[in-house]
Symmetry: C2
Subunit: 638 residues, 2 copies
Amino acid sequence: MSRFTPVNFSDIDLHGPFWHERLETVLTRTIPSQHEKLEEAGILESLKLPDPPPPLRIPRHPNGFTVQVFWDSDVGKWVEAAAYALSHRRDADIEAKIDAIVEDLANAQADDGYLNCWYLGREPENRWTNLRDNHEMYNAGHLLEGAIAYFQATGRRRFLGIMERYIDHMIARFGKGPGQVRGYGGHEEIEIALMKLYHLDRKKKHLDFCAYLINERGQQPPHYYDVEREAREAKNGGVDPQRYVFKDYEYNQSHKPVREQDKVVGHAVRAMYLYTAMADLAAAIDDADLKRACEVLWKDVMDTKMYVTAGLGPSAHNEGFTHDYDLPNQTAYAETCASVALIFWAQKMLHLDLDGQYADILELAMYNGALVGLSRDGKQYFYANPLESDGTPTRWEWHPCPCCTMNVSRLVASVAGYFMSKAEDGVAFHLYGGAKTTTIIAGTEVTLNEVSNYPWSGDINISIDPAQPASFDVKLRIPGWCRGASVQVNGEALDVATAENGYLTIRREWRGGDQIALALPMPAVRLYANPHVIMDAGRVALKRGPLVYCIEEVDNPGGWVQRLRLPRDAELRAETRSDLFDGIVTLKADAIAIEEAEFRELYRTAPPKEDKAELTAVPYYLWANRGQGTMLVWVPEK
Amino acid sequence: MSRFTPVNFSDIDLHGPFWHERLETVLTRTIPSQHEKLEEAGILESLKLPDPPPPLRIPRHPNGFTVQVFWDSDVGKWVEAAAYALSHRRDADIEAKIDAIVEDLANAQADDGYLNCWYLGREPENRWTNLRDNHEMYNAGHLLEGAIAYFQATGRRRFLGIMERYIDHMIARFGKGPGQVRGYGGHEEIEIALMKLYHLDRKKKHLDFCAYLINERGQQPPHYYDVEREAREAKNGGVDPQRYVFKDYEYNQSHKPVREQDKVVGHAVRAMYLYTAMADLAAAIDDADLKRACEVLWKDVMDTKMYVTAGLGPSAHNEGFTHDYDLPNQTAYAETCASVALIFWAQKMLHLDLDGQYADILELAMYNGALVGLSRDGKQYFYANPLESDGTPTRWEWHPCPCCTMNVSRLVASVAGYFMSKAEDGVAFHLYGGAKTTTIIAGTEVTLNEVSNYPWSGDINISIDPAQPASFDVKLRIPGWCRGASVQVNGEALDVATAENGYLTIRREWRGGDQIALALPMPAVRLYANPHVIMDAGRVALKRGPLVYCIEEVDNPGGWVQRLRLPRDAELRAETRSDLFDGIVTLKADAIAIEEAEFRELYRTAPPKEDKAELTAVPYYLWANRGQGTMLVWVPEK
């Protein structure tokens, strides 16, 4: 069988209620409001290169750094999200806004193709002098992704042409050839974009440049970031004007060549972007060695470093990873971007082998760690995603570093692209929730329609309608969290035990009107963390289907949710609540509450008194949409 | 009855085994090794003002700050600790070392009395331009405390004279008079030193200057730190070369006048030093208003902000306080200096009213939060004192900011000064553990000798030997943690229920050979934290007498101590262990251990398996003296 590739989101009608709501919210509220915010923050203005440049909107950090060095990337990500919106339905207003941005970029671009508005506007003489910190390649990557998306949505090539020129400029400058500089970006991203460009135009120079960047990373001696630092020092009397707060190169995964890396380290988003590109490249050039490196890194993060919500990176200090099993809840950084990027990586891993373990994590990150980053109204965000709150954190309307905002909008706007894949003679369903497409399989036009109320219900119906009878594989993902799945075709039961690597393969001659009924039982369950995760000792997380739950103060009157204890034998009752958020399933249980009013001292020898209470849990991704209050994912067991 | 004042440490022979060991270790190992470290670190060299100044030993922080601005204070604190050592026994070598320092300071001092080696050596033109950050008054305070201690130990006045000149320089410059500057130090300390000087020389100008500094703090508008910042900006084209990372003045307790402050905020050591001086001043000038402010602040920290170890300040960010009940264990900052300073404050509060609640905290901080800062061998330290460890933290031999090292040595070297107080017609015992003194009470020379193996045992014998029969009060502290205390005088039982404010007063005619037997039962107990301390939910701390216990990996074989659960009904067995640390009491209990070996996944639906186990706890102050490993104060209950 040929390799599976994702069915493009623009070819899928995502009609199920769960994703329809999220998608409509992002298209009608999030993406337009993000353009307003980009304008208010001065980010759009920063593309217009005046002389002198506009004043700094955000003060420099004492070490000379300002987030404005990556404003180009925010523009690129917004264009990408907005272009995805156009793929759903054309909109002259959005197109005019994108064209205005493209016009500014065209005017800004240097004669030699270089295009970075920060450097061109403020210190053109310093371009390419600090790849370690200053995000030139990162910005280029996001602009390129925007350009590709806009081209795919509208067929307009101008932005793509600008970016191709810029890429050519980089290809000329960076590499291992004579006279070239052996640099690579400190914040990985362009590698992903280059693979997208290669998938679009199949030009070997783009694939080769991506492979160069990935393979050169971490090569030493000498280490490129030492070389460029020494050059800066030579210019500045021995002192580097941009000091490095991260003591080693693990921060940006350049501590050793990527094929030798076996532990997930450093800044979480950087790491995920790198691994995404590595997996994509491994597939494109069929590189078993690179694939194995990806698998080792995947196992490391899965075994020791992932929050139960698929959040990644416990530490605010490096926005990233620390040591194995270090997963503090209240101070979890777990940046929204990192879970979005984990989805990117999981999708690439999934398409190497079609192994359901990757789809399981893709789904987990989608419904929890990523989706929590966007508010119900589509206009507020979380950057960090703690798993416990003392009531202090609230969603914000914008952020000095707005990376997460557009990572969520571009994800949701293209979310249908994660639902199905097809091969020459087969189709695979990864996610469920109401998705329809018409495509060619085994030479026949086939309409596939999956209908369900997933993730609230695991009852899924899929109709397979080939224009004429045709033999091909239908692969159904049986989620790793599911026990007791059952499948019928036209009323006839199949043996789910024959499923391999998380997929049940149904090979038969399909005829118009064929129906698959898939039942995925989803009782609420308790999850226990590995004892090495000391923060979760004696605690349980509640999960139903792909959704991780949390207890929020608004549903649990009487004060702090941290008062609640869940007896081990308490039944977890799923309850449909049509009055909450257009209809969700909550979990209820008989619980015990600590009586806090009579405990006045800070410490005492008598244990706190206990009362009976009822505990109500809601999906984690919905927390902090109904005012401020305490929240807890890991509930103490009694 | 007249007011009680502490019996000076130099008049007390601390002969009990517990403190004898600590004292000898500090005198023979800690204080000499600290001089070596001061030399190695370049701190002593920094007092010799060459031209040009010596290179920076420690790089500047990106905001221009370097810890070297407070190196003078480290010297002052070492001289203070070393002088206390001399009060125990003269030592020509130590005296020569101190005299060499005094010689350097005499050479460094400016003609107008100003004395700050950092500014004099590097930027004399900038002296007194940044009281907020740059520690000039803080340094002066510590140097003055050193000078006083050296004078008291040896009678030599040279250092004291240098410091009196410097104080006169400040008195002339700072104040509310015409032409004066209304400044005060950003890091409180000099206020404590000025009160010491006033207690020594009774000069009103020193009392008045201290009162000015305390009362001026936080007065506005205009706020003095705004005034001096604007002056710096005016000199530097609108940009302050020293940016302020703390957004408000709560960091240094200057957000409002001190008498209006009712919440403990900001940097913990600064806060404690301020409150110490406030309480001392309130007693000296009999200021009921200032005393009430101290009491309100005391209640705030006791009710909502103190670790069970008497550690203070959960956050590394501001080295200080956050919000009520925010007491994370693994990330606790709980700087050693803050607990030492709490002891200073508690002693001042105790002497306002002789209320045992202050002695209870003094004792708690002494045996736990402060003592933990010094290793058993007297040459290693903790700066931050977490209540839980994943095995990463280790003691260090020195620190770029060595404030805690000499705070512990000066505390232990003078620890006897916290044991007893006397008034004209009475004596009060605060701490127990083997202490003897001869003093004048009610006009008669009395020898008092308290003999015990406290804190390991609560059986205490006190002999009262007046030169001739005399009537006076003997006040015995009945610790707040103690239930069922009993007291006999010459074999005759007294009614302990008559104790008031934590002290039992025995008034009688005392004759040679009179014996008091005090029995303080000290069964091991469990402490529960207020439910608002969400980090300690479902957990207990173990305590016996004044000692808080912890479980350490070295005593609990089988891996992580976080595996252990203590059933609520498990008996806590105190066990004398002569093989550990010259003899200590450990606590044992039948417990449950999570089996970790068979739990391989990061998350799973089956709870971890459990085994029977024995739990062994040791006093918290002793942790991290036997290699690296996990540690836990708050043990999960089962």
